[in-house]
Subunit: 397 residues, 2 copies
């Protein structure tokens, strides 16, 4: 097992554990990420409704973008020509790109899967496209994120074992092809860099994705096969939070936990409700992402320390209190529930931004506090304090 050539730019320093929960620092070419943390999702090179300064203000240290969406619009080659994703979206800190596997498989009737890759039709103009492990690596290389995810075969959360095995094994074969193309592109870039006397353009790490549905045996097999295939900078855990029951998701995290190396970050893909973050941290997860805080924000729902608040509710009409009395985000420091409700009812986009900002701030803060609790050896008490409150829904007072 050899260190990937780009590994030198990355490091993962474990600072404390508390049970299976971990506090660490993940170093990348664009800076360090203190974990556990939540990564806001900027699908199209923008975290919907938010400004990069908003994200910095909320303490975001790493964000996501999406290879499928950016390939279709504005095009990954254009992003590269403009200096890569960091410069394009004015985000100087770490970025991770998802490979588009999830998006392509979500297209359902619009796609055909083969061993070679996936033929699909663009959701924008219906044009015919083809993604292979190799083409996705070229796209993610062009975008230039610090961490890029392998192209994988994603299946529904409650799939039968045979379907889950097929997809997981295909994802493993695709991982080998991703790595081959990733290494080839890196050599080409090195050569080009040497020719011009400059270093290669983007230093990147390729993360594999552990699949296997809700089948413990498949998860273990996938984790072991991935580890035999290379010494990875970090590991994605995919195919969860896609329709399966919550206990199944938590069970899979427990199965995978001892199979992954303790000295590398683990990223639970697409998971972003407050209670799931805490349950994930408890089971050894370091990184999370999800569109939930911004999507729910745009739909008028806020995470709070007393459960969810729907700002469209009539009871909030004259409520002078902030969304969450204990929150110090720019929304709660400045605006009343009555004002936020007014913005929503009046279709004012400031409302979408203020609620998205609060929700992102809430998750980042939840993870900052979880980290502090781990460092101080009181994560269990921390999670027992939070979980009952977070599971409340649509509370309005």
């Amino acid at each position: 097992m050899t260190q990937p050539t780009t590994g030198a730019a990355f490091a993962f320093a474990l600072e404390a554990t508390d049970g299976d929960a971990r506090a660490a620092t993940f170093s990348t070419p664009h800076g360090a990420v203190q974990t556990p943390t939540f990564m806001p999702v900027g699908t199209l090179a923008t975290v919907k409704t938010l400004d990069p300064d908003d994200l910095r203000g909320a303490g975001a240290s790493m964000i996501l973008a999406n290879a499928y969406h950016l390939h279709l619009r504005p095009g990954d080659e254009l992003v590269r020509a403009l200096g890569g994703l960091h410069r394009f979206m004015h985000w100087d800190a770490p970025i991770l790109t998802d490979s588009g596997g999830f998006q392509v498989f979500s297209l359902e009737t619009l796609r055909t899967v083969s061993e070679e890759g996936v033929e699909f039709r663009s959701h924008i103009d219906g044009s015919k496209r083809f993604f292979s492990p190799e083409s996705v690596m070229r796209i993610e290389r062009n975008l230039g994120a610090d961490v890029i995810m392998q192209f994988d075969h994603v299946i529904p959360g409650q799939s039968e074992e045979s379907a889950a095995r097929d997809a997981s094994e295909r994802s493993l074969r695709w991982l080998e092809r991703c790595k081959g193309e990733f290494d080839r592109l890196e050599m080409v870039e090195h050569a080009e860099g040497d020719a011009h006397g400059a270093p290669p353009r983007f230093q990147q790490a390729l993360f594999p994705i552990v699949q296997g549905g809700i089948h413990a045996g498949l998860r273990v097999a996938a984790a072991r096969a991935i580890r035999s295939a290379g010494d990875w900078v970090g590991y994605g855990i995919g195919g969860l939070s896609v329709g399966e029951a919550k206990p199944d998701m938590y069970g899979m995290l427990e199965v995978v936990h001892p199979e992954l190396p303790a000295d590398r970050p683990r990223y639970l893909m697409g998971v972003g409700f407050p209670e799931d973050l805490i349950e994930g941290v408890r089971r050894g997860v370091d990184l999370f992402d999800c569109v939930a805080p911004t999507r729910m924000g745009r739909n008028g729902t806020a995470f709070t320390s007393a459960g969810r608040v729907n700002v469209k509710r009539q009871e909030l009409r004259a409520d002078p209190r902030p969304l969450d009395e204990g929150c110090d985000c720019p929304t709660c420091r400045r605006f009343s529930r009555a004002y936020l409700r007014h913005l929503y009812v009046s279709d004012e986009t400031l409302g979408l931004r203020l609620l998205s900002l609060h929700n992102v701030h809430f998750l980042l803060n939840l993870m900052r506090e979880a980290r502090r609790a781990i460092l101080e050896g009181r994560f269990d008490a921390y999670s027992r304090d939070w979980l009952p409150r977070l599971s409340q829904r649509t509370v309005s007072e």
Copy 2:
């Protein structure tokens, strides 16, 4: 002529004139406004897509809100119960409310005008409503802006003299009724304030509006009648930029200029294209407002020092330059035309905000520079430098 009772909280200090152009400081209960300046419009207690911090960052010192819209939603009594408009929208600096005259008369088939007032149907739910000079004063008192505009009869820009005279004379009679109700409400509040040992809640100034369409004689008559009716803190000039030709608008400003007292601010209502601001300043105007910078921003058009730029244009697809190379706004400091085009094409709301922010910043900066030019006695050269550039349209490079 007596000073209005609230006049003590307001002052207007003329600092320099250059031709008819004026540089001054307008003091209000919520702070000073250096003029000439542009006031961004927050119709529904939010300047569309922007955050109060954005406005402060752009150097906005006074903003608008609208009595008609806020009366319908969320209701002026609710705003008052929540501490008034400043607290509701978290804007601690001066605010001006328009009376809703313009909005009510824009409803066309939905309204019936009588001497008593205007019966109309809400554009939101079709419910029957009635605005009189007295009811509008109560609404604007509840909202609590520093400057409140009289309820006036607004007519199309090219109206015949007889229609314009009727509307102007009605506006004068309504001004007397506005003043009567304004003074009565102030006495009531004073009495309530005394009873509780506290000062009256909102210190406000009522501005009359000079009407008269594009008829010089009517404009002069209106200005003179308004001055005989009281000693006003400031003067609105209304009924312009509503469909008449630009030379007609400029001509009316020249006619009105000598009729208004030099030691009071003049506010040209609803005017906000860059070239019109400069032409207005040249004719003695101190304050402007318009939805143009935010509306055009939401439509993808930017004001720049080389004319207008439409960010949706294909030519901008790979353009790495900022919207305006000379601009230091947060949009131009951070983002390329290519990125802004991508946001627009992808329907990302960040694009609406970034372009609105740039446009508001552009107009505020244009007025800051005009002020400096007046103070330095070079306004004529300043306007001759700007005007030919500003009149260019949809330039893309």
